[in-house]
Subunit: 441 residues, 2 copies
Amino acid sequence: MSRYLPTELIQKKKRGQAHSRDELAFLIQGFLDGAIPDYQMPAWLMAVFFRGLSQTELLELTILMRDSGRRFDFKSRGLFTVDKHSTGGVGDKTSLLVAPLVAACGGFVPMMAGRGLGHTGGTVDKLESLIGFNSAPAPEEFARQVQDIGLAIIGQTADICPADKRLYALRDVTATIDCIELISASIMSKKLAAGVQGLCMDVKYGSGAFMRSLTDATALAEQLVAVGDRSGVRVHAVISSMNQPLGRYAGNSLEVGECLDILAGRRCIENGHDFYQDTRDLSVFLAAQMLVIAGLVESASQGLERVRSALESGAALKKFQAMCGRQGVRDWEMPKPQAHLVVTSQRRGFVQGLDTEAIGFCLVRLGAGREKQGVELDLSAGIENHFRIGDAIQEGQTLWTLHGRDRPRLESVADRLRETIAWSESPVARDALIVKVIEGH
Amino acid sequence: MSRYLPTELIQKKKRGQAHSRDELAFLIQGFLDGAIPDYQMPAWLMAVFFRGLSQTELLELTILMRDSGRRFDFKSRGLFTVDKHSTGGVGDKTSLLVAPLVAACGGFVPMMAGRGLGHTGGTVDKLESLIGFNSAPAPEEFARQVQDIGLAIIGQTADICPADKRLYALRDVTATIDCIELISASIMSKKLAAGVQGLCMDVKYGSGAFMRSLTDATALAEQLVAVGDRSGVRVHAVISSMNQPLGRYAGNSLEVGECLDILAGRRCIENGHDFYQDTRDLSVFLAAQMLVIAGLVESASQGLERVRSALESGAALKKFQAMCGRQGVRDWEMPKPQAHLVVTSQRRGFVQGLDTEAIGFCLVRLGAGREKQGVELDLSAGIENHFRIGDAIQEGQTLWTLHGRDRPRLESVADRLRETIAWSESPVARDALIVKVIEGH
């Protein structure tokens, strides 16, 4: 590899010029082996935030990060694998439904999921509410399970994309997380290393998403699709609303409960809503896209049909049970909340909007999430939603029920939660849950 | 002081928001005492490069850096001190003339100068060509000398602006040097700490300056004047051309020789030019501005008259000799070059322009400058200019004479030097040496 001066490369990106593959390799390799000190990368990362990366640079960076560690290969086992990944939200438990739905329709889903961070929840935390659930099986067992029963959901293994792991840790402390190109490279490198051949991205926009605007979410979705196209992964990016928490519950064991209910065909009717509907609709939609990506159906509508019947027949529930059983769950026990608090409205009006990120941080305060890695969670903690944006609320009406280990913590967030509501005097429009789909080639 | 999260502050600047004084104090203090790790500052510095600092932020940062170390106080001694500072160039030896000129007219010049870095020369290196010259007297002796004879030129003491020193070192390795606000804060904090009450900035633009364009140079000049206004320093910023090396010589002892010649009233006539004229004109102009700033004259034209008479009478030469004597010079000896090489033109034509930065790097190759701090110099090395932009050159005509310790080094730069010339077939206009003056209140 030719040698460069790190300062020269930072300068280049600062001026908006594109890096060659060799230059990117020098940066990533040098960062990993310590040749480039930790104080030079953040200047480069910030320059990337402002100047961006070209499609070619983004692809090269993704491939370099993919190749920094272990790679799974399902293709050589004759499997076409398809995964789903969300950019993160509040109450977003669709992974737990999508994986068994697709497996029940004949797909293979090797899902490496994350833990909650910041205001967003994480699939691995949720599954670990199920006592005994093993989110870190041996790599060979992970691959074998996918082959045998069509799905496995595990945490990211230590040897997958170490370059991304170290870069992400540095981005976290240098305010360079919210960069579309760096997000794309981070997601796609991990998916490629996990041996994923098809990917349905759920790109969230709105008050609870990292991308607040539809414009930014669309830009990210397009980047992801483009990187997928150029790295041999079929990507469909679904843009969906994260302007309010998804479903009835947000909080780890509560969300698992919601998923088990949905897989069992239950509904959650109150005040004219089925509070499970958005979770179910989005999961079914994403799963149908995955069947299209995997070539298991001809069209999205055929996919929807297949997925709905896998849900209604109980086949998806069986897949979920098979996965949990294989990953150590025996008695289907979860931590039960010891305290409950009803939060009522102190005024009347129409709910115009919600600060969903702030709701996410209330969940962190309840112990359901973590601001920094390594914090122990209260897996029983969470909130139960009793209204939707657009609802007419009366004074004294129940807004949320809070659940968790200790009542003082629940009380400490009640007012903060009330402040997340933007009120209107007149009726307001409800926005669409699913906005659009951007498809790769 | 209130506490902040460094990431929060980086994020704030990244989004283009302004910092409060407390936030800047937290950043600078935290950086100095290690509470903010070295990998967070570069992300902030790069965000400042892209987002800038408001006038208020720039002032606060300047004051914080000023107060990070020792401060000199000449006001309490009843002196109004005035200094000159250049943004750096090739062959720019005006400091050596300006300080004695102003002192000879009754001004007090406490000059803390720098060493050469990159393609630019440094006043301290030049003075150290005079064998015995002490550029690091005790701080009290520095102040006493200014009071006694009106001038002293020393290197920056270790305890002046340690915050700037550490930030500058970090900027140097993270490609965040060329940021107008950070340059302004760096210069002004050091001048304030040195106890300077009036300052004439020589802001260079052109092929040998850090600011290539007149627009950027003007923006920097305006920033410097504005910070001066708000921090109690009267600043005049002179914008001058650095499109070609200044004067006859570039190189440490050679430049001191040029200054001694000028102070002795000599000229350097060849091919219809006085090759000392630009050095002399600019020095006299800057010194006259300093007299205006110090209130020693009523107008710039009165200043020019006074300065010219101090030059012609030999009073300035006496001041220069007094300074050097006080700072350890006894025999007025300098290292003599052992080798000489005449570089002739291989074509005919008009000189349209010069890559003056490249000429500066040729000087580095000759040993007259350094790319990194700590390199030992060949103080005898340098170039002698035999033409000016706009001249008609014949094939075989002498362009430069190179001087230095060993001939192979001289030979190694001959072709590079020739390549710095942009040729024209037809006569070209010569640009003005002094473009404009921006005055503070």
